[in-house]
Symmetry: C2
Subunit: 517 residues, 2 copies
């Protein structure tokens, strides 16, 4: 009896949460927190070829060196480590950076999420998809292209939270241009912590903003957790060729000192910031990343660090960046192999395109980036969904289309099921020649899970498609994101923690004037 | 003096041809007759996994067998070869088909083209791209979707001839629905022989039409050439599950007896014509293809034969075929490996999509098919350009967009250039930190060839793109195919041969009444 009477009360008391928990449980059945690949990564170079790239990287580090600009801390640490420091130029004895990284950088690590079910493992055979990052503009079919706002950023945080195929909330999913530059990081980090419970990325535009991110994480995760666990992953870009600058290094230092993870990423438009060849771009990228990762290890031995590479080709007519072309794919495969040989996690790829709209160009170029991303065995994939216009624009419809592709990659990465059910030999034997399988017991048993189901592809007859308005994929995707936002339910958060976080942010914001630098 | 006076005369006499030859020479600098891959094919299964698929195929051949319907020739030959023939059902002792194929089928072969510069090597590390095949409808942006005509077929023959990235003229590029069914093969084969000089495919809709194709090839290539060389490649589809029918087998027999090549292709919508699993679909496909290829070898020992596979997944809601999904990609990788183990060339993949229009869905799905096609090491790629709507429609704009992707695949397959120029080490050393490479001697030397140049991608700024009308990729492609057709120049042909061919066709057409069966 008490069971019976209690049930409705329990339902009333925590109906919203129980419903959400049930929904999460249901989602968990489909959602995996990250992808574990079952295939050997694709190699485009032989051992000898890869060794040549590494040798060239060492030659670059030894003969040219890397500039660490306005970064006395880096110069001091490298001098102590045995490098040759000449002004801001650091030249490295062959092998020094590699040995430093291999001696202390972890091969892989867990980035903890606010919801432990969403913790991601970064490294090894695992792949984590995160949304696109850094666009000042957003675009959707209804309103076209416009500056991003904090509302847009929140929308994309919610969409990534709602998508079973995005494993990570990302960081600057778009720039909230409506907020002052020196304070927008508070609202961005808050959005990730409040509107999602997937792992997130920290601010890197000023060392203080990195410290603010860490403080906010401390409030939410607890100081003790932060000491021992990685809960923030942040993107540190080089200023290629062969320069690391003070802002980025300062942010990297702040995170590394707090044992939080950074992605040290040469961001290269080949032909402009590196030679116009694959092998040259790879050697230079490796040299830059090695120097950056070695610095992180000198700051704090054992701090989690990811080898990053962003490489695009260039229109040799206009100088514009080009994406989805064969050469960046070759760079990606090559550097993923270099990261494996080095023994650190690798970040690259995504769903990149120069197209302004989610058309056939956007899809070809994105697929031509995402396929190598998956096949090369990239561990952390920024820009997996939403990217348009060479990263200048974050697209709502593009996000939906790309997330669907991320789902396909997850299904692909599971590989071929060789169980008895997978082999289906009995089904074939029982069925016999000339008989279709539509009604066979095996087909009925596998009905639900046999094939990946796209949320945006139209596979109907042309007559059906015409009767529904002859909508193209982008138009269908427009309906999908609106439905996802309309159905969004925020993840639960401890009210006291949320209040403490919001109070802290308010105090910080009030303590210094707004500024747009 | 005679030289001087002769020059203008030579120019007058063969000005058109000389200009065309010069144009061809120029094209040859960019055009390669087929792709030679430099990378190891991607494997998704271990040796043990592949052996299991092979074992299951043998079990299917042994326990279920294959129906050869209305095909007494096949039943007789298989009985003589040691198979168990029961009515139209043929059951094979384990290994019989494999041993038959491995004993006599060539590992690879050359399909000769009317222009020897366009001969293609089918097998090994080589990949040949051919247009889509078999669509009753065509679509372009101006006129929308409509039945195909012989004019459309000629247009696509011309476009494939004009594209440096299509290596093959294909066959039924679209159905010329305006011609009688029993005579359209004359005009189709003539179109390939006259408007292109790339290799082509023969008619398979009736054994007599195969013989007609062979006779037309004899007129153009000479009877002696046909005895010793393969100049026709034809597509023979199974009637899955586990049935080969008389029409297709009759055409296959005609071609094999003339030492011309056939592609024995199980055409499978998984879930309907095979179990709804990857491993089941692979085992059944392998069994069907083995039986078909074994038959070809029994007809003529050593006749060139290609292991074909066409596999799509299925919407388990509507039963509609779906493309570009993970499962067909896994089938493709698996069966490409099976073909390598068997030691025969492999045909599969292409640029497949269920989309009705060349939108983002079409591009994602096509890229998700073409990437595995290239990475798995497919040797002959039908449907590489133009395919829409699950093969029901051949698209003009889609053709242009896909051909561009074929070009990218060719560039990718060349792999990483590790020459000194490719390594670009001196360029990096001379350049130094913080200096861009745009004006460096190395960049200027590599300006023309550094990166793949798409003919349809727009990489300009959004302002430039808007000023040019905010065109999407499909709209830009519409301009490209019109320009290609406008600039089309037919390849030269011996006038006497052309006249003989046309006379022969007229006599054949006049010798029996039109019919649409």
């Amino acid at each position: 009896m008490s069971d019976v009477t209690n049930e409705p009360r329990a339902g009333r008391r925590s109906g919203g949460r129980a419903a959400r928990q049930a929904a999460r449980l249901h989602a968990a059945a489909e959602h995996v927190p990250f992808i574990t690949r079952t295939m050997t990564p694709v190699e485009v170079l032989s051992e000898e070829g890869l060794a040549l790239i590494e040798e060239n990287a060492d030659t670059i580090l030894e003969r040219v060196g890397v500039d660490f600009r306005d970064a006395p801390d880096a110069l001091k640490r490298f001098a102590e480590a045995g490098a040759d420091v000449d002004g801001e130029r650091v030249r490295f004895p062959r092998g020094l950076c590699r040995e430093q990284v291999q001696a202390t950088a972890p091969r892989d690590f867990v980035q903890h999420a606010r919801n432990p079910a969403n913790d991601v493992h970064i490294g090894g055979a695992d792949t984590v998809f995160a949304p696109a990052y850094g666009s000042p503009f957003v675009r959707d079919l209804d309103q076209g292209r416009r500056y991003g706002t904090i509302e847009d950023l929140r929308n994309f945080v919610k969409l990534a939270y709602a998508s079973p195929f995005l494993h990570h909330s990302g960081g600057t999913v778009c720039e909230p241009v409506d907020l002052p530059v020196n304070k927008r990081h508070y609202d961005m980090v808050y959005a990730h912590l409040r509107y999602s419970d997937k792992p997130f990325m920290g601010s890197v535009t000023h060392p203080q903003r990195a410290l603010d991110t860490i403080e906010m994480a401390r409030i939410v995760f607890g100081a003790e957790t932060l000491e021992t666990k990685t809960v923030i992953l942040s993107l540190i870009n080089a200023n290629s060729p062969l320069v690391w600058d003070a802002t980025m290094l300062g942010a990297a230092k702040a995170y590394a000192e707090a044992n939080q993870a950074v992605i040290m990423t040469p961001f290269i438009l080949a032909g402009a910031m590196s030679p116009a060849t694959v092998a040259g771009t790879c050697a230079q990228t490796l040299a830059e990343a090695l120097a950056g990762m070695a610095y992180v290890q000198l700051v704090r031995s054992g701090a989690p660090v990811v080898f990053g590479s962003f490489a695009s080709s260039m229109s040799m007519q206009s100088g514009a960046p080009t994406f989805g072309t064969p050469e960046p794919a070759l760079v990606l495969y090559t550097l993923a192999a270099c990261a494996r040989r080095l023994g650190v996690p690798f970040r690259s790829g995504g769903s990149l395109t120069a197209s302004k709209v989610p058309d056939a160009q956007a899809a070809y170029e994105s697929a031509n980036t995402l396929q190598p991303t998956m096949l090369a065995g990239v561990n952390f994939v920024l820009h997996a969904a939403g990217w348009l216009e060479g990263g200048l624009t974050m697209g709502y419809e593009k996000f939906v289309l790309d997330a669907d592709q991320c789902g396909m990659m997850a299904a692909f990465a599971r590989g071929v099921d060789l169980s008895e059910n997978g082999q289906a030999l009995d089904a074939i034997v029982e069925n016999g020649p000339g008989q279709h399988f539509l009604g066979s017991a095996h087909t009925l048993a596998n009905f639900e899970t046999a094939f990946y189901r796209s949320s945006v592809a139209d596979n109907n007859s042309v007559e059906q498609w015409e009767s529904e308005g002859s909508l193209d994929a982008a138009t269908r995707a427009s309906g999908v994101w609106k439905k996802m936002l309309a159905g969004y339910q925020p993840p639960p958060i401890d009210e006291a923690v949320d209040e403490e976080l919001r109070d802290w942010i308010e105090r910080q914001k009030a303590s210094f004037p707004d500024s747009n630098v």
